[in-house]
């Protein structure tokens, strides 16, 4: 059974890249906070990959779904945003890059059984 990943992001190029780079996983996309919360309520995910513009979702995950693993992606890393993400429980915080396996390399130590699927 494939590991399931929820991507909370609304940037089409990133979503397309993520689906390709993580093609061994089942990917669900939520473009905004409301859609993300509906997905989290309805289903189990092995990992959440959230845009740094959706740190509000991390606050809710920390309160209601604290067993979910979350990583945060950003266009432009900042120390303030990094600290906010880690304080909200992010396992990783990193800049979006579009090289082959770039995203997989960031999540492989975080998602359970990353090699399976």
């Amino acid at each position: 059974m494939k590991s399931r990943i929820l991507i909370i992001d609304d940037e089409p190029r990133w979503i397309e890249f993520a689906k390709s780079d993580l093609n061994k996983f089942e990917i669900v996309v939520a473009p905004d906070t409301k859609a993300a919360l509906a997905e989290l309520e309805a289903d189990q995910f092995d990992l959440v990959i959230a845009s740094s513009r959706r740190l509000d979702v991390l606050e809710i995950i920390a309160q209601k779904y604290s067993d979910r693993r979350v990583v945060v992606t950003t266009v432009q890393p900042t120390t303030q945003e990094a600290l906010a993400a880690y304080r909200l429980g992010a396992r990783r915080y990193f800049a979006k890059s579009f090289g082959h396996q770039d995203l997989f390399e960031h999540i492989k130590e975080v998602i359970p059984a990353a090699g399976a699927g």
Binding site: T78, R91, Y93
Partner: protein, 133 residues
Amino acid sequence: MTNTRHKILVVDDLPDWRATLGGLLEDAGYDVQVAESSIAALTLLKTDHFDLAVLDMRLDETDESNIEGLDLAAEIKEHWPAIKVIIITAYSTTDTTRRAMEPDAQGRRLVANYIPKTQTEELVNIVQEVLVQ
């Protein structure tokens, strides 16, 4: 007054900051000891009991990489794992934030929290939060 039973070690190479951080925590009711270096901190750690340590990240003016406090945090985590550690720094970068706060594969961080010195007013609240975790 906060719980006076908790004992806190404050480590900073700058006297003014030792006084400021120690004073804030003493005013909040904590039992505070201060040290000016990693060596002085390790001497105290070997002879006394602490619940929490507040470590400046740059513990020496010659520490150009500004990470001596992170090295001391790693040493505390290895030898005194029950002591909660908070890093405080005037030299925050995304890399030092990551080194301090990014969990390892088992989900464990090097430190319990990380405070830029521009946000020192958060110290007492964060200490209270960390001590009940």
